[in-house]
Amino acid sequence: MTSSHSLTVSSLSLGYGDRTVIESLDLVVPPGKITAIVGANACGKSTLLRSMSRLLAPRHGHVLLDGREVHKMPAKELARTLGLLPQSPIAPEGITVSDLVGRGRNPHQRLLSRWSHDDDLAVAAALDATHTADLADRSVDELSGGQRQRVWIAMALAQQTDVLLLDEPTTFLDVSHQVEVLDLLTDLNHDRGTTVVMVLHDLNMAARYADHLIALADGKLHAAGDPSSVLTEDCVRAVFGLDSQVITDPTSGKPLMLPLGRHHVTAP
Protein backbone atom coordinates (compact mmCIF):
# COMPACT_ATOMS: atom_id res chain seq x y z
CA MET A 1 0.00 0.00 0.00
CA THR A 2 1.45 3.30 -1.03
CA SER A 3 -0.28 6.58 -0.50
CA SER A 4 -0.25 8.75 -3.56
CA HIS A 5 -1.54 11.95 -2.10
CA SER A 6 0.18 14.99 -3.49
CA LEU A 7 0.85 17.85 -1.13
CA THR A 8 2.15 21.04 -2.68
CA VAL A 9 2.63 24.59 -1.58
CA SER A 10 2.48 27.34 -4.17
CA SER A 11 3.55 30.98 -3.72
CA LEU A 12 2.54 30.75 -0.06
CA SER A 13 2.91 33.76 2.25
CA LEU A 14 2.18 33.46 5.95
CA GLY A 15 2.36 35.79 8.91
CA TYR A 16 1.00 36.85 12.28
CA GLY A 17 -0.11 40.44 12.76
CA ASP A 18 2.37 42.74 11.01
CA ARG A 19 5.05 40.11 10.87
CA THR A 20 5.62 38.11 7.70
CA VAL A 21 7.02 34.68 8.46
CA ILE A 22 6.95 32.87 5.14
CA GLU A 23 7.20 34.66 1.82
CA SER A 24 6.10 33.29 -1.56
CA LEU A 25 7.20 29.75 -0.89
CA ASP A 26 6.86 26.94 -3.42
CA LEU A 27 7.47 23.34 -2.56
CA VAL A 28 6.39 19.82 -3.33
CA VAL A 29 6.20 17.06 -0.75
CA PRO A 30 7.16 13.77 -2.40
CA PRO A 31 4.34 11.26 -1.82
CA GLY A 32 5.13 8.12 0.17
CA LYS A 33 8.43 9.50 1.43
CA ILE A 34 9.80 11.00 4.62
CA THR A 35 10.40 14.72 4.35
CA ALA A 36 12.22 16.72 7.01
CA ILE A 37 12.06 20.50 7.26
CA VAL A 38 15.10 22.13 8.85
CA GLY A 39 16.12 25.69 9.52
CA ALA A 40 17.19 28.11 12.21
CA ASN A 41 14.94 29.11 15.11
CA ALA A 42 12.03 31.34 14.04
CA CYS A 43 12.62 30.70 10.33
CA GLY A 44 8.99 29.70 9.89
CA LYS A 45 9.19 25.89 10.04
CA SER A 46 6.34 25.39 12.49
CA THR A 47 4.30 28.14 10.85
CA LEU A 48 4.61 26.35 7.53
CA LEU A 49 3.53 23.06 9.07
CA ARG A 50 0.55 24.70 10.76
CA SER A 51 -0.57 26.22 7.49
CA MET A 52 -0.16 22.94 5.63
CA SER A 53 -2.67 21.45 8.06
CA ARG A 54 -5.03 24.45 7.73
CA LEU A 55 -4.42 25.79 11.24
CA LEU A 56 -3.22 29.07 9.76
CA ALA A 57 -4.83 30.70 6.76
CA PRO A 58 -2.44 31.87 4.04
CA ARG A 59 -2.06 35.55 3.23
CA HIS A 60 -1.34 34.68 -0.35
CA GLY A 61 -0.94 31.44 -2.23
CA HIS A 62 -2.27 27.96 -1.61
CA VAL A 63 -1.64 24.68 0.09
CA LEU A 64 -2.95 21.97 -2.19
CA LEU A 65 -3.75 18.39 -1.24
CA ASP A 66 -4.45 16.34 -4.36
CA GLY A 67 -5.02 19.61 -6.14
CA ARG A 68 -7.62 20.87 -3.66
CA GLU A 69 -7.04 23.81 -1.39
CA VAL A 70 -6.80 22.51 2.19
CA HIS A 71 -8.25 25.71 3.60
CA LYS A 72 -11.44 25.13 1.66
CA MET A 73 -11.85 21.43 2.41
CA PRO A 74 -14.38 20.28 5.03
CA ALA A 75 -12.51 19.96 8.34
CA LYS A 76 -13.26 16.30 8.97
CA GLU A 77 -12.61 15.23 5.41
CA LEU A 78 -9.17 16.80 5.53
CA ALA A 79 -8.55 15.21 8.93
CA ARG A 80 -9.14 11.76 7.44
CA THR A 81 -6.31 12.26 4.96
CA LEU A 82 -3.91 14.58 6.69
CA GLY A 83 -2.94 14.44 10.36
CA LEU A 84 -0.85 16.81 12.45
CA LEU A 85 0.89 16.27 15.74
CA PRO A 86 1.56 19.75 17.15
CA GLN A 87 4.70 20.55 19.08
CA SER A 88 3.05 20.68 22.49
CA PRO A 89 -0.27 18.89 22.56
CA ILE A 90 -2.13 18.95 25.88
CA ALA A 91 -3.12 15.81 27.73
CA PRO A 92 -6.14 16.43 29.97
CA GLU A 93 -5.44 15.55 33.59
CA GLY A 94 -5.91 11.88 34.37
CA ILE A 95 -6.62 10.77 30.79
CA THR A 96 -5.70 7.15 30.11
CA VAL A 97 -3.54 6.11 27.18
CA SER A 98 -6.30 4.26 25.37
CA ASP A 99 -8.68 7.20 25.85
CA LEU A 100 -6.17 9.57 24.37
CA VAL A 101 -5.41 7.31 21.44
CA GLY A 102 -9.14 6.81 20.89
CA ARG A 103 -9.62 10.53 20.42
CA GLY A 104 -7.65 10.23 17.21
CA ARG A 105 -10.77 8.58 15.80
CA ASN A 106 -12.75 11.82 15.88
CA PRO A 107 -12.65 12.57 12.14
CA HIS A 108 -14.08 9.12 11.42
CA GLN A 109 -17.03 9.56 13.74
CA ARG A 110 -20.24 11.45 13.19
CA LEU A 111 -22.42 13.26 15.63
CA LEU A 112 -24.20 10.67 17.78
CA SER A 113 -22.58 7.76 15.92
CA ARG A 114 -21.54 4.95 18.17
CA TRP A 115 -18.02 3.74 18.57
CA SER A 116 -17.48 1.21 15.77
CA HIS A 117 -15.43 -1.93 15.42
CA ASP A 118 -13.19 -0.06 12.98
CA ASP A 119 -12.44 2.39 15.77
CA ASP A 120 -11.38 -0.44 18.10
CA LEU A 121 -9.25 -1.98 15.36
CA ALA A 122 -7.54 1.34 14.63
CA VAL A 123 -6.78 2.00 18.29
CA ALA A 124 -5.41 -1.52 18.81
CA ALA A 125 -3.25 -1.25 15.69
CA ALA A 126 -1.93 2.16 16.78
CA LEU A 127 -1.06 0.84 20.24
CA ASP A 128 0.72 -2.17 18.75
CA ALA A 129 2.65 -0.13 16.20
CA THR A 130 3.96 2.24 18.87
CA HIS A 131 4.59 -0.51 21.46
CA THR A 132 2.27 1.18 23.91
CA ALA A 133 -0.30 -1.61 24.28
CA ASP A 134 0.95 -2.49 27.76
CA LEU A 135 0.47 1.14 28.81
CA ALA A 136 -3.14 1.28 27.59
CA ASP A 137 -4.77 1.60 30.99
CA ARG A 138 -2.13 3.86 32.51
CA SER A 139 -2.68 7.55 33.03
CA VAL A 140 -0.73 9.71 30.57
CA ASP A 141 0.48 11.90 33.48
CA GLU A 142 2.52 9.00 34.85
CA LEU A 143 4.47 8.26 31.67
CA SER A 144 8.04 9.20 30.84
CA GLY A 145 8.73 11.70 28.07
CA GLY A 146 9.55 9.01 25.52
CA GLN A 147 6.50 6.94 26.37
CA ARG A 148 4.29 10.02 26.19
CA GLN A 149 5.60 10.94 22.75
CA ARG A 150 4.91 7.41 21.51
CA VAL A 151 1.35 7.69 22.87
CA TRP A 152 0.79 10.97 21.01
CA ILE A 153 2.08 9.36 17.84
CA ALA A 154 -0.30 6.47 18.50
CA MET A 155 -3.14 8.99 18.64
CA ALA A 156 -2.07 10.40 15.29
CA LEU A 157 -1.85 6.83 13.90
CA ALA A 158 -5.36 6.02 15.10
CA GLN A 159 -6.46 8.89 12.91
CA GLN A 160 -5.32 6.66 9.98
CA THR A 161 -4.24 9.41 7.67
CA ASP A 162 -2.08 8.80 4.61
CA VAL A 163 -0.19 12.01 5.28
CA LEU A 164 1.22 12.74 8.73
CA LEU A 165 2.79 16.06 9.74
CA LEU A 166 4.80 16.26 12.96
CA ASP A 167 6.17 19.39 14.59
CA GLU A 168 9.46 18.51 16.28
CA PRO A 169 8.44 15.04 17.43
CA THR A 170 11.82 14.47 19.11
CA THR A 171 12.19 17.65 21.16
CA PHE A 172 12.70 17.05 24.88
CA LEU A 173 13.67 13.43 24.26
CA ASP A 174 17.03 11.93 25.06
CA VAL A 175 18.98 10.44 22.20
CA SER A 176 17.76 6.87 22.57
CA HIS A 177 14.14 7.99 22.59
CA GLN A 178 14.78 10.26 19.60
CA VAL A 179 16.06 7.27 17.64
CA GLU A 180 13.13 5.18 18.82
CA VAL A 181 10.57 7.76 17.60
CA LEU A 182 12.30 8.26 14.25
CA ASP A 183 12.60 4.49 13.73
CA LEU A 184 8.91 4.21 14.47
CA LEU A 185 8.05 6.83 11.87
CA THR A 186 10.28 5.06 9.36
CA ASP A 187 8.47 1.77 10.05
CA LEU A 188 5.21 3.55 9.46
CA ASN A 189 6.47 4.93 6.17
CA HIS A 190 7.77 1.55 5.02
CA ASP A 191 4.84 -0.56 6.22
CA ARG A 192 1.92 1.66 5.36
CA GLY A 193 3.40 4.01 2.80
CA THR A 194 2.44 6.98 4.97
CA THR A 195 3.83 10.28 3.73
CA VAL A 196 5.67 11.79 6.69
CA VAL A 197 6.57 15.47 6.95
CA MET A 198 8.37 16.56 10.09
CA VAL A 199 10.08 19.61 11.43
CA LEU A 200 13.34 18.58 13.06
CA HIS A 201 15.89 20.54 15.03
CA ASP A 202 18.71 18.08 14.70
CA LEU A 203 20.27 18.37 11.23
CA ASN A 204 22.07 15.05 11.46
CA MET A 205 18.95 13.16 12.50
CA ALA A 206 17.08 14.87 9.67
CA ALA A 207 19.76 13.91 7.14
CA ARG A 208 19.78 10.33 8.34
CA TYR A 209 16.04 9.67 8.46
CA ALA A 210 14.64 11.84 5.67
CA ASP A 211 14.37 10.86 2.02
CA HIS A 212 13.81 14.49 1.19
CA LEU A 213 15.27 17.46 3.03
CA ILE A 214 13.87 21.00 2.93
CA ALA A 215 16.07 23.79 4.27
CA LEU A 216 14.36 27.09 5.07
CA ALA A 217 16.16 30.37 5.69
CA ASP A 218 14.30 33.52 6.74
CA GLY A 219 10.96 32.29 5.49
CA LYS A 220 12.29 31.33 2.07
CA LEU A 221 13.24 28.03 0.54
CA HIS A 222 17.00 27.67 0.56
CA ALA A 223 17.34 24.18 -0.82
CA ALA A 224 15.29 21.02 -1.21
CA GLY A 225 16.13 17.52 -2.33
CA ASP A 226 18.12 14.47 -1.39
CA PRO A 227 19.89 15.00 1.97
CA SER A 228 23.34 14.42 0.50
CA SER A 229 22.81 17.17 -2.04
CA VAL A 230 21.12 19.58 0.39
CA LEU A 231 23.25 19.23 3.51
CA THR A 232 26.48 20.93 2.50
CA GLU A 233 28.88 23.26 4.25
CA ASP A 234 27.53 26.18 2.18
CA CYS A 235 23.98 25.29 3.12
CA VAL A 236 24.78 25.20 6.85
CA ARG A 237 26.47 28.59 6.55
CA ALA A 238 23.53 30.12 4.68
CA VAL A 239 20.80 28.63 6.85
CA PHE A 240 22.37 28.73 10.30
CA GLY A 241 25.23 31.20 9.84
CA LEU A 242 27.59 28.51 11.10
CA ASP A 243 30.87 27.21 9.75
CA SER A 244 30.97 23.45 9.61
CA GLN A 245 32.53 20.43 8.10
CA VAL A 246 30.23 17.91 6.44
CA ILE A 247 31.51 14.36 6.22
CA THR A 248 29.95 11.08 5.23
CA ASP A 249 28.46 9.28 8.21
CA PRO A 250 30.32 5.94 8.31
CA THR A 251 27.30 4.20 9.86
CA SER A 252 24.69 5.31 7.35
CA GLY A 253 26.44 6.77 4.33
CA LYS A 254 24.44 9.95 4.82
CA PRO A 255 25.95 13.39 5.35
CA LEU A 256 27.03 14.25 8.88
CA MET A 257 27.50 17.87 9.92
CA LEU A 258 30.24 18.74 12.40
CA PRO A 259 29.98 22.32 13.65
CA LEU A 260 33.11 24.46 13.75
CA GLY A 261 32.78 26.70 16.77
CA ARG A 262 35.43 29.05 18.09
CA HIS A 263 36.81 26.52 20.54
CA HIS A 264 37.95 22.92 20.62
CA VAL A 265 38.53 22.69 16.89
CA THR A 266 41.87 21.38 15.71
CA ALA A 267 42.93 23.02 12.47
CA PRO A 268 42.40 20.72 9.50
Binding site: A75, P86, E93, S98, W115, A133
Partner: protein
Protein backbone atom coordinates in the same frame (compact mmCIF):
# COMPACT_ATOMS: atom_id res chain seq x y z
CA UNK B 1 -4.90 -9.64 21.81
CA UNK B 2 -4.45 -5.90 22.01
CA UNK B 3 -7.82 -5.61 20.32
CA UNK B 4 -9.52 -7.59 23.09
CA UNK B 5 -7.86 -5.42 25.71
CA UNK B 6 -8.91 -2.26 23.88
CA UNK B 7 -12.51 -3.42 23.62
CA UNK B 8 -12.78 -4.63 27.19
CA UNK B 9 -11.27 -1.46 28.60
CA UNK B 10 -13.55 0.70 26.48
CA UNK B 11 -16.61 -1.28 27.57
CA UNK B 12 -15.50 -1.01 31.19
CA UNK B 13 -15.16 2.75 30.93
CA UNK B 14 -18.49 3.15 29.14
CA UNK B 15 -20.15 1.13 31.93
CA UNK B 16 -18.55 3.28 34.55
CA UNK B 17 -19.72 6.43 32.76
CA UNK B 18 -23.29 5.11 32.58
CA UNK B 19 -23.11 4.04 36.22
CA UNK B 20 -21.98 7.49 37.33
CA UNK B 21 -24.80 9.14 35.39
CA UNK B 22 -27.33 6.72 36.86
CA UNK B 23 -26.04 7.27 40.36
CA UNK B 24 -26.12 11.04 40.04
CA UNK B 25 -29.65 10.92 38.63
CA UNK B 26 -30.76 8.69 41.53
CA UNK B 27 -29.25 11.10 44.06
CA UNK B 28 -30.99 14.04 42.39
CA UNK B 29 -34.34 12.25 42.53
CA UNK B 30 -33.74 11.47 46.19
CA UNK B 31 -32.79 15.08 47.04
CA UNK B 32 -35.76 16.35 45.03
CA UNK B 33 -38.17 14.11 46.91
CA UNK B 34 -36.69 15.09 50.27
CA UNK B 35 -37.19 18.76 49.33
CA UNK B 36 -40.86 18.03 48.67
CA UNK B 37 -41.43 15.97 51.82
CA UNK B 38 -39.49 17.95 54.41
CA UNK B 39 -40.54 21.27 55.88
CA UNK B 40 -42.52 22.65 58.79
CA UNK B 41 -45.16 20.11 57.89
CA UNK B 42 -44.11 16.74 56.46
CA UNK B 43 -46.16 15.32 53.63
CA UNK B 44 -46.23 11.71 52.53
CA UNK B 45 -45.20 10.62 49.05
CA UNK B 46 -48.78 9.71 48.21
CA UNK B 47 -50.00 13.19 49.17
CA UNK B 48 -47.24 14.71 47.03
CA UNK B 49 -48.13 12.43 44.15
CA UNK B 50 -51.77 13.51 44.34
CA UNK B 51 -50.69 17.17 44.25
CA UNK B 52 -48.58 16.49 41.17
CA UNK B 53 -51.58 14.82 39.52
CA UNK B 54 -53.57 17.99 40.13
CA UNK B 55 -55.86 16.82 42.91
CA UNK B 56 -56.72 19.24 45.69
CA UNK B 57 -55.12 18.12 48.94
CA UNK B 58 -55.79 20.41 51.92
CA UNK B 59 -52.55 22.14 52.94
CA UNK B 60 -50.34 20.15 50.60
CA UNK B 61 -51.80 21.73 47.46
CA UNK B 62 -50.47 25.08 48.52
CA UNK B 63 -47.32 24.13 50.45
CA UNK B 64 -46.15 21.47 48.03
CA UNK B 65 -47.81 22.64 44.83
CA UNK B 66 -47.07 26.35 45.10
CA UNK B 67 -43.98 26.49 47.33
CA UNK B 68 -41.92 23.29 47.45
CA UNK B 69 -42.45 21.94 43.92
CA UNK B 70 -41.46 25.12 42.06
CA UNK B 71 -38.60 25.66 44.48
CA UNK B 72 -37.14 22.16 44.09
CA UNK B 73 -37.73 22.19 40.33
CA UNK B 74 -36.04 25.55 39.89
CA UNK B 75 -33.18 24.38 42.12
CA UNK B 76 -32.56 21.32 39.96
CA UNK B 77 -32.93 23.13 36.63
CA UNK B 78 -30.87 26.18 37.57
CA UNK B 79 -28.21 23.91 39.04
CA UNK B 80 -28.15 21.93 35.81
CA UNK B 81 -27.74 25.15 33.79
CA UNK B 82 -24.96 26.42 36.04
CA UNK B 83 -23.11 23.09 35.90
CA UNK B 84 -23.45 22.82 32.13
CA UNK B 85 -22.44 26.42 31.47
CA UNK B 86 -19.55 26.26 33.91
CA UNK B 87 -17.95 23.09 32.59
CA UNK B 88 -18.32 24.39 29.04
CA UNK B 89 -16.15 27.41 29.78
CA UNK B 90 -13.70 25.43 31.89
CA UNK B 91 -13.27 22.88 29.10
CA UNK B 92 -13.08 25.40 26.28
CA UNK B 93 -10.44 27.49 28.06
CA UNK B 94 -8.78 24.43 29.64
CA UNK B 95 -8.69 26.01 33.06
CA UNK B 96 -10.91 25.27 36.05
CA UNK B 97 -10.65 28.93 37.05
CA UNK B 98 -12.32 29.99 33.80
CA UNK B 99 -15.76 29.44 35.24
CA UNK B 100 -18.46 31.96 34.28
CA UNK B 101 -18.91 33.05 37.89
CA UNK B 102 -15.21 33.86 38.15
CA UNK B 103 -14.83 35.63 34.80
CA UNK B 104 -17.80 37.96 35.14
CA UNK B 105 -20.54 36.40 33.04
CA UNK B 106 -22.88 35.61 35.92
CA UNK B 107 -21.96 38.97 37.49
CA UNK B 108 -23.03 40.67 34.25
CA UNK B 109 -26.33 38.83 34.12
CA UNK B 110 -26.88 39.54 37.80
CA UNK B 111 -26.10 43.27 37.53
CA UNK B 112 -28.39 43.56 34.50
CA UNK B 113 -31.21 41.71 36.24
CA UNK B 114 -30.91 43.90 39.32
CA UNK B 115 -30.88 47.01 37.12
CA UNK B 116 -33.88 45.82 35.13
CA UNK B 117 -35.92 45.19 38.26
CA UNK B 118 -34.91 48.10 40.44
CA UNK B 119 -34.44 50.93 37.95
CA UNK B 120 -36.50 49.87 34.93
CA UNK B 121 -39.21 47.95 36.76
CA UNK B 122 -39.37 45.26 34.05
CA UNK B 123 -41.42 42.07 34.17
CA UNK B 124 -40.09 38.51 34.51
CA UNK B 125 -39.54 38.08 30.75
CA UNK B 126 -37.97 41.52 30.41
CA UNK B 127 -35.56 40.71 33.24
CA UNK B 128 -34.56 37.41 31.60
CA UNK B 129 -34.01 39.09 28.26
CA UNK B 130 -31.96 41.84 29.88
CA UNK B 131 -29.86 39.33 31.79
CA UNK B 132 -29.11 37.18 28.77
CA UNK B 133 -28.08 40.16 26.66
CA UNK B 134 -25.83 41.45 29.43
CA UNK B 135 -24.32 38.00 29.99
CA UNK B 136 -23.52 37.67 26.28
CA UNK B 137 -22.24 41.24 26.19
CA UNK B 138 -19.85 40.60 29.06
CA UNK B 139 -18.69 37.34 27.47
CA UNK B 140 -17.93 39.18 24.22
CA UNK B 141 -16.16 42.07 25.99
CA UNK B 142 -13.98 39.72 28.05
CA UNK B 143 -13.22 37.63 24.96
CA UNK B 144 -12.32 40.61 22.80
CA UNK B 145 -10.22 42.32 25.49
CA UNK B 146 -8.17 39.17 25.99
CA UNK B 147 -7.70 38.46 22.28
CA UNK B 148 -4.16 38.82 21.03
CA UNK B 149 -3.00 36.17 18.55
CA UNK B 150 -5.64 33.89 19.99
CA UNK B 151 -7.15 33.75 23.43
CA UNK B 152 -4.96 32.66 26.29
CA UNK B 153 -6.91 31.26 29.23
CA UNK B 154 -4.95 33.06 31.95
CA UNK B 155 -5.26 36.49 30.35
CA UNK B 156 -8.98 36.00 29.86
CA UNK B 157 -9.40 34.91 33.48
CA UNK B 158 -7.58 37.95 34.87
CA UNK B 159 -9.56 40.36 32.69
CA UNK B 160 -12.75 38.53 33.62
CA UNK B 161 -12.01 38.81 37.35
CA UNK B 162 -11.54 42.57 36.96
CA UNK B 163 -14.77 42.97 35.04
CA UNK B 164 -16.63 40.78 37.53
CA UNK B 165 -15.47 43.08 40.36
CA UNK B 166 -16.73 46.16 38.50
CA UNK B 167 -20.08 44.53 37.77
CA UNK B 168 -20.51 43.35 41.35
CA UNK B 169 -20.03 46.89 42.61
CA UNK B 170 -22.57 48.05 40.01
CA UNK B 171 -25.03 45.52 41.43
CA UNK B 172 -24.33 46.75 44.95
CA UNK B 173 -24.92 50.34 43.83
CA UNK B 174 -28.21 49.52 42.10
CA UNK B 175 -29.41 47.67 45.17
CA UNK B 176 -28.54 50.61 47.40
CA UNK B 177 -30.97 52.66 45.30
CA UNK B 178 -33.76 50.20 45.97
CA UNK B 179 -34.96 51.62 49.25
CA UNK B 180 -38.22 49.77 49.24
CA UNK B 181 -36.63 46.40 48.73
CA UNK B 182 -36.25 44.11 51.66
CA UNK B 183 -32.96 42.51 52.53
CA UNK B 184 -33.90 39.06 51.32
CA UNK B 185 -34.65 40.30 47.82
CA UNK B 186 -31.35 42.16 47.75
CA UNK B 187 -29.34 39.17 48.88
CA UNK B 188 -30.78 37.20 45.98
CA UNK B 189 -28.90 39.33 43.47
CA UNK B 190 -25.68 39.12 45.43
CA UNK B 191 -25.46 35.44 46.32
CA UNK B 192 -28.46 33.75 44.75
CA UNK B 193 -31.53 32.40 46.48
CA UNK B 194 -34.51 30.18 45.80
CA UNK B 195 -36.83 31.97 48.21
CA UNK B 196 -40.17 32.73 46.68
CA UNK B 197 -39.50 30.58 43.60
CA UNK B 198 -42.57 30.41 41.38
CA UNK B 199 -43.59 28.54 38.24
CA UNK B 200 -43.47 31.87 36.37
CA UNK B 201 -39.78 32.12 37.19
CA UNK B 202 -39.13 28.48 36.38
CA UNK B 203 -40.68 28.45 32.92
CA UNK B 204 -38.03 30.57 31.12
CA UNK B 205 -35.32 28.27 32.52
CA UNK B 206 -37.18 25.23 31.17
CA UNK B 207 -37.44 26.83 27.75
CA UNK B 208 -33.79 27.85 27.77
CA UNK B 209 -32.76 24.29 28.62
CA UNK B 210 -34.96 22.82 25.91
CA UNK B 211 -33.63 25.19 23.24
CA UNK B 212 -29.99 25.73 24.20
CA UNK B 213 -29.27 22.41 25.93
CA UNK B 214 -29.37 20.40 22.66
CA UNK B 215 -27.15 23.00 20.93
CA UNK B 216 -24.55 22.58 23.64
CA UNK B 217 -24.83 18.79 23.76
CA UNK B 218 -24.37 18.63 19.99
CA UNK B 219 -21.00 20.29 20.55
CA UNK B 220 -20.04 17.88 23.35
CA UNK B 221 -17.64 15.89 21.18
CA UNK B 222 -15.95 19.01 19.81
CA UNK B 223 -15.50 20.33 23.34
CA UNK B 224 -14.12 16.95 24.37
CA UNK B 225 -11.52 17.33 21.59
CA UNK B 226 -10.67 20.89 22.63
CA UNK B 227 -9.23 19.45 25.84
CA UNK B 228 -6.23 18.37 23.74
CA UNK B 229 -5.38 21.93 22.78
CA UNK B 230 -6.65 24.07 19.91
CA UNK B 231 -4.13 22.82 17.35
CA UNK B 232 -4.67 19.14 18.08
CA UNK B 233 -8.44 19.58 18.06
CA UNK B 234 -8.32 21.41 14.73
CA UNK B 235 -6.06 18.74 13.28
CA UNK B 236 -8.67 16.18 14.34
CA UNK B 237 -11.34 17.95 12.33
CA UNK B 238 -12.85 20.37 14.86
CA UNK B 239 -13.85 23.76 13.45
CA UNK B 240 -12.57 25.98 16.21
CA UNK B 241 -14.31 29.30 15.59
CA UNK B 242 -17.69 27.78 14.85
CA UNK B 243 -17.49 25.54 17.90
CA UNK B 244 -16.46 28.44 20.14
CA UNK B 245 -19.25 30.74 18.99
CA UNK B 246 -21.99 28.11 19.27
CA UNK B 247 -20.76 26.99 22.64
CA UNK B 248 -20.36 30.49 24.09
CA UNK B 249 -23.81 31.60 22.97
CA UNK B 250 -25.50 28.46 24.27
CA UNK B 251 -23.63 28.36 27.57
CA UNK B 252 -24.07 32.07 28.28
CA UNK B 253 -27.77 31.79 27.44
CA UNK B 254 -28.26 28.96 29.92
CA UNK B 255 -26.32 30.79 32.61
CA UNK B 256 -28.13 34.06 32.07
CA UNK B 257 -31.61 32.50 32.19
CA UNK B 258 -30.72 30.60 35.34
CA UNK B 259 -29.18 33.71 36.90
CA UNK B 260 -32.24 35.79 36.05
CA UNK B 261 -34.39 33.26 37.91
CA UNK B 262 -32.31 32.58 41.00
CA UNK B 263 -29.55 35.16 41.14
CA UNK B 264 -25.94 34.03 40.82
CA UNK B 265 -25.87 30.95 43.06
CA UNK B 266 -22.26 31.18 44.10
CA UNK B 267 -19.67 28.73 42.80
CA UNK B 268 -22.06 26.10 41.39
CA UNK B 269 -20.79 26.71 37.86
CA UNK B 270 -17.27 26.69 39.25
CA UNK B 271 -17.49 23.50 41.32
CA UNK B 272 -19.60 21.18 39.17
CA UNK B 273 -17.10 20.57 36.36
CA UNK B 274 -14.12 19.63 38.53
CA UNK B 275 -16.30 17.38 40.72
CA UNK B 276 -17.69 15.68 37.62
CA UNK B 277 -14.16 15.29 36.23
CA UNK B 278 -13.10 13.60 39.49
CA UNK B 279 -15.84 11.00 39.30
CA UNK B 280 -16.10 10.42 35.54
CA UNK B 281 -12.41 10.55 34.66
CA UNK B 282 -11.49 10.94 31.01
CA UNK B 283 -13.94 8.36 29.72
CA UNK B 284 -16.52 10.68 28.24
CA UNK B 285 -17.90 14.15 27.86
CA UNK B 286 -18.22 16.07 31.12
CA UNK B 287 -21.24 18.11 30.06
CA UNK B 288 -24.10 16.00 31.35
CA UNK B 289 -22.27 14.78 34.47
CA UNK B 290 -21.40 18.38 35.38
CA UNK B 291 -25.01 19.45 34.83
CA UNK B 292 -26.20 16.67 37.11
CA UNK B 293 -23.60 17.56 39.76
CA UNK B 294 -24.80 21.18 39.56
CA UNK B 295 -28.42 20.16 40.05
CA UNK B 296 -27.50 17.97 42.99
CA UNK B 297 -25.33 20.68 44.55
CA UNK B 298 -28.11 23.27 44.46
CA UNK B 299 -30.78 20.88 45.77
CA UNK B 300 -28.61 19.69 48.65
CA UNK B 301 -27.25 23.16 49.46
CA UNK B 302 -30.80 24.51 49.58
CA UNK B 303 -31.86 21.75 51.95
CA UNK B 304 -28.88 22.53 54.18
CA UNK B 305 -29.59 26.25 54.00
CA UNK B 306 -33.21 25.81 54.96
CA UNK B 307 -33.08 23.16 57.64
CA UNK B 308 -29.58 22.58 59.00
CA UNK B 309 -29.32 25.76 61.06
CA UNK B 310 -31.52 27.82 63.36
CA UNK B 311 -31.64 30.58 60.78
CA UNK B 312 -32.57 29.94 57.14
CA UNK B 313 -29.76 30.83 54.80
CA UNK B 314 -30.14 31.47 51.07
CA UNK B 315 -28.72 28.65 48.97
CA UNK B 316 -25.92 30.85 47.61
CA UNK B 317 -24.46 31.28 51.09
CA UNK B 318 -24.12 27.52 51.46
CA UNK B 319 -22.60 26.96 48.00
CA UNK B 320 -20.32 29.94 48.66
CA UNK B 321 -19.03 28.32 51.84
CA UNK B 322 -18.40 25.10 49.89
CA UNK B 323 -16.82 26.81 46.89
CA UNK B 324 -14.52 29.37 48.43
CA UNK B 325 -12.03 26.90 49.95
CA UNK B 326 -11.87 25.04 46.63
CA UNK B 327 -11.07 28.31 44.84
CA UNK B 328 -8.22 28.96 47.25
CA UNK B 329 -6.94 25.40 46.84
CA UNK B 330 -7.07 25.75 43.07
CA UNK B 331 -5.19 29.06 43.08
CA UNK B 332 -2.44 27.55 45.22
CA UNK B 333 -2.19 24.48 43.01
CA UNK B 334 -2.29 26.44 39.75
CA UNK B 335 0.48 28.67 41.03
CA UNK B 336 2.57 25.62 41.71
CA UNK B 337 2.03 23.63 38.56
CA UNK B 338 0.00 25.66 36.05
CA UNK B 339 -2.54 22.85 36.00
CA UNK B 340 -5.51 22.44 33.71
CA UNK B 341 -8.90 20.79 34.07
Amino acid sequence: MTLDAVISSRVRRARRYALVLGLLAALIVAAYLVSLIVGETYYSLSEIWRVILGETVPGASFTVGELRLPRATLAALAGFCFGLGGVTFQTMLRNPLASPDVIGITSGASAAAAFAIVILGLSETGVSAFAIVAGLGVAIVVYVLSFRDGVVGTRLILIGIGIAAMLDSATAYVLSQAAQWDLQQAVRWLTGSLNGATWDETLPVVIALLVLGPVLLAQARNLFMLQLGDDTAAALGVRLERTRILVIVAAVGLLAFATAATGPIAFVAFLSGPIAARIVGSAGSLLVPAGLVGALLVLVADLIGQYAFDIRYPVGVITGVLGAPYLVYLLIRTNRAGGSL
